[in-house]
Every structure is written in C-alpha cells, then in structure tokens.
Amino acid sequence: MSASTMTTARGRWLAWGGLAAVLIAAPWIFRSSLALNMLSQMGYLIIICLSYNLLLGQGGMLSFGHAVFTGLGGYAAVAAIGYVDGHGVAFPLVLMPLVGGLMGALVSVPLGYVSTRKAGTTFAMISLGIGELVVAFAIMLPDLFGGDGGISINRTYGKPWGGITFGPQIQLYYLIAAYCFICTALMYAFTATPLGRMLNAVRDNPERAQFVGYNTQLVRWYSFIIAGFFAGVGGALGTINFEIFNAADSLSGMRSGAYLLFTFLGGVTFFFGPMIGAVLMVLCTVLLSEITAAWLLYLGLVFVLMIMYAPGGVASLIMMNVRMARAGKLGRFAGLYGALVLACALLMLGASALIEMIYHMQLNAAIGSEVKYLGMRLDAATVAPWLGAVAVALIGALAVHQVGRRFAHAWGKAQEEIEAGLQHGGQTA
C-alpha cells in the first residue's frame, strides 16, 4: 500500500517537474523566431483547450461557443491595456490575463445560467446559438469592438520592471509559460475537488446525482464559470501575443469549432489529452497549412476517422500502448506495428498524391500541370500519375484492412490476458 502511494507521489513530481522543465527548456531547443512564436501559441492554447475540456471531457457539455469566452477575455485585456496605456495607470501587463479571466467568468455567469440546464445535445445547440448571438452583437458595434480593422495594442506599455518590457518574444513566452503551468495545475487541482468530482458524476449519470441530492444545473453552472475564467485567461494571452483583437475572428464559430476539433483529437478522456491537442493545433495551423493547401481536408478526414476508430483521441492511443508496455506485451506487436505503419504509409502516399493533384488542378492550373510531391514531379495532365496514385492508394487500403484486422485480433487477445491476470492477482491478494 505505502509503496504504491510512494510511486504515485513520485510520478506526480515527475509529471509536473517534467512539464515545468519542458516549458523552461523549449525555447533553448527550438531557437528560431518562428518556433518561439509557435511555442507561445501552444502555451495559451493549452490553457484554452484544457478549459474547453473542463466542459466536454469532465462535464459532458459539448460546446460550440467556446470562442465567446476566449474572445471576450481577449477583448477585456485589449480594452484594459488601451485604457491603462492611455491614462498612465500603473497596472502591469503580468496581471492583464487575469482581467481577461475575470471577463470570461463574468460573461459565463448569465450565459452559463441559460445553457447549463441540460448537457449533451441541448447544450450543444444553445452554445451554438449564443456564440452566433455574441459575434453578431460584436460586429454590430464597431466603435466598441473595433469593427473590421480590429483593435491594436502595444504590450510594451508602462515602465520596464527589472529590464523586462515584454517587447522581445522570449520574455512574453516565459509569461505565457508561467500562466500555462499555473493554470494547468489549477485545472488539474479542480478535477480533484468535490465540485470537480460531482461534475464527473453529473456527466455520467445526472438522474442519480440528482437523487443523491445535488442540483445538476448548479454543478454544471459553477464548472462553466470556472471554465470561462480559464478560457478568458487563455484568450487574453492570445491577444497580448498578437497585439490585436478582431471580433469577427476571435469570437467566430470557426474558432470555437477549431477548439472543439483539436481538443477532441488530443483526447478528452485524459486530463493531458487537450495539451496534445493544443500542440497539434499549432503544428497544423502553422506548419501543415504551409506544406499543403488541402490541410483542412486532411484534418477533417483525420477527425472523422478518429471518432470512428479511436474516440479517445491521441491520449487514449498513448495510454493503451503504455498499458500494454507495463504488462510487458508491447514487444510482440513490433512486427504488426511495422506492417501497419508500412500499410498506412502506402495508403497515405497514394491518397494524398491524388488529393494534391486535384487541389493543384483547382487552384494552380494556370501555372502549369506539374505538381511537386515529396521530391517527385508529377504531371497532372497525363494519365500515368493518376493511375499510379489510385493503384498505390488501393493497395494501401487493402493492406491496412488486412493488417488492421490481424492487429485488432492480436490486441484484443493481449488485452484479455491482461484482464485475466488482473483478476487473478486480485483474487490472490
């Protein structure tokens, strides 16, 4: 007993120490200015995705309007910075994300009240309507919300404190990283509070929670406000990072949809899943969109396949393998994994060659029919590359199907063995 408590305590120190070390060391490993900018984005998106998961993963509330809270948090920070800068008030930038957080929590109070009566589908619809309401409202009042041009700020306002002006990106990165660490820790702590536990109970079985004597709406509402606070902090850091707030973008339904998509891809069933989602979000929107014009199509495909085959997201895939490795059975999958990777690579090679050629025909047909693809030059005007791509894709699909079936079979068998072992162990103990 005491040994296992020791290991969990040590695991916790390792996890949090590891997170802190990664946050501190990252800008020394990835040194380019693009990388630093991406790291900053990851930092505040981690806060946003985790706050989103307080709703979806912890509370079963599928929100299509999370950008309302991040956006209004960002707006509050921009407005406060504009005021402080203009009036010469001594209010440091370090505390500005809290202004955004308070704004997020404040708007969550009435909006949460009308939307948290039910979870699931009803909640989803209402959050969508409220999201549209707020963005229409903000666009209607360009004097207040900046209209099409948005509102620009200068984050280096005020007197530097100890040489820190937040002008250089590295200084801002460490501010974001500090907030990221603290907010992550606070949100993790929230999941262990009685309210966080009740939120899980309300997610899993609202009727039963009601019978025990809890008001399910109140539990959801309080959690909604807390999620709104962290969303506001993340949103404020985002606008401080870019030094601009644009209502039509920051509050938009597209933005809300992206939070949902990547939080889900990262994985909603584990606390750390959304952190992976946030990293993926930056990699996709910054890097993948540079590589290919078809990135949204790939993203949509991955999303749909993920829901169908791995609804727990990347995090659950990782944890499945960790579990297998702990039982010492991961080694036997080496061959199957190799075959699976090869088959998937074949399928992706063929399918993406097709997609790239189609996109090229649609967007850049004027430049010529030649498509650069993985160092190859494919001439989309001739038949051969199309036939080749279709053939490769078909062979790949067939191989994935075959290998996948074998893999699933072997995995299920190993899983059964582990469970049998656990039951056996439980009986002897």
Binding site: G129, L133, L260, I307
Partner: protein, 315 residues
Amino acid sequence: MEFFTISLLNGLSYGLMLFMLSSGLTLIFSMMGVLNFAHASFYMLGAYFAFALSQSVGYWPALLIAPLAVGLVGAAFEQLCLRRVHKWGHVPELLITFGLSYLVLEVVQLIWGRNVVPYGLPDQLQGPLFTLYGTQFPKSRAFVMLVAVLMLGAIWLVLQRTRIGLVIQAALTHPDTVQALGHNVPRVFMLVFGGGAALAALAGVVAGNTYVTEPAMAYAVGSIIFVVVVVGGMGSLAGAFLASILIGVVQTFAVAIDVSLADLLGAAGLKVASGNPMEQALRLTVAQVAPMLPYLFMVLILIFRPRGLMGTRED
C-alpha cells in the same frame, strides 16, 4: 401596405424554405437522437449538385435527381460512419456530423471553387409572378413556397397514410418495441437519415438559384435552423413549422425597417447628443440588428419557455 404584403410574402417564402430544412433535422433528431450538424451541408450539396446537373440535363430533371443523389450520400454516411459510432452515445454522433460538415465544405470548395457559382434560374421561373402597387414578387420565390407546401403535404401523407410512415412514427417513441415486432429499425434509421438529407437538398436546389450558391451558404443557414429547432421545441414538427415561419417573417421585416431607437427618441422630442457613449447602440437601425434577432429570440425562449413553442419534452 405594399411593403407589408411583399415583405410578408418574402418572409413566408424564406420561412417555408427554413422549414424544408428544419423538418428533416427535426425528424432525424426525434427519431435517432442525433443532432445532424451537417444538415445544412446537405442543403449546400443539393444546390451544387443541381448547379452541375442543370448545366448538362437542365433544371427540371435536376430538381428530381439532385435530392435523390444527396439522399443516397446521406444514407451511405449513416450506414458507414454514423452507425459505427452509435454505440458510444450522442456526443460522438454529433461530432462525426460536425466532421462531415468540414469535409463537405472542403470538397465543395475543391470541386467548384471558393466563389459564387452562376447557378441561374430557368427561363420559366424568371421575372415577376405579379406586380402589387408597383412592387414585384418574383416567380422563383413563389416556386419555393409551392415546393415547400407540396413537400409538407407529401411528408404528412407518408407519415400518416403509409405503412413505412407508421413504422417511422412508432420508432420515434418506441424503437425497441418496433424492433421486437420484427421491423428492421436500423434500416428505418438509414431511410430517415437519407430522406432528411434529400429534403435538405431539395431546399438547396430551389433556394440555391433564388438566393446565391456559394461555399458560405451552409454556415449561414446552419445556425439559423438550429435556432428554429430549439425555438419550435426539440423534436416537434409542428413547432418547427411555426418557428420557421415566425423567424422567416420577422427577419424579412427587420431587414427592411430602417428605423433606430434614436429616431424613435427623436420623434418623442428627445435628441441623442453626439458625445453620448450609448450613441452607437441607439443609432443602430432595426435592419442592422436583424442578423442577431433569431439568436436573441432563442435565448428569450430558453429563459421563459425552455421546452420551446410546441415542445413536449425538455431534453
């Protein structure tokens, strides 16, 4: 007077178009519990299919073929994707339709480009149907109304008078019992999903050339039909009808009214000073507020009558 009549007719035509969409959404929702996020995407697909078909076989065959084709796409999606995630509950089901809406948008942009496509009206529908006090009412809008009313009648007949309609009605409330009686409920689900997609596509075919056919059309109408379903009451066809007409008419009137609060205050003898911090809010005209009205309406309904206008259940 003429403004009133024409606006009312335009509003009715828009409202009936909304009902073509929300009826399918409501049927799918009340039967399968699935909130089909991609419903407006099927509407868009219908418009684009009809645009493509009308260039080769003409508009009138397209009116029939495009909805059928989209219905097949919908049924295939239900069979291949939706059914697979059904066992994990409603949230993954909603998510997969959300993913589908992403994919449809990308594919449409890939095939037909990102701009408005020239999907025109056929000769028979061009020009005004009648002229009232000097204002014209276009034939195309009357045609939208005609198609919607015919469709409404057809749905009613199918649901009330045919064997499959009775099975659908029974499966709405008691799917397990219907299954136990030997009916293939999954196939009924597929039929309803495909049928709902076809209805949405039909709306797209007639609305695509009356309004515009562009990649943004799905998103523009998508959130409105969710509002319609919430306002009407989740799962109530009659409620969806009432809410569609209401929102269609209110929005059409609002767009045409160019009066602001400041004007009203001015008529009452109060002048809004130009330094007033509320000036901009007071100077907004009703027309400018129009895009917000459906959502505002929804929030009010949620506060004062959470089950919707005609809803019977609260979940």
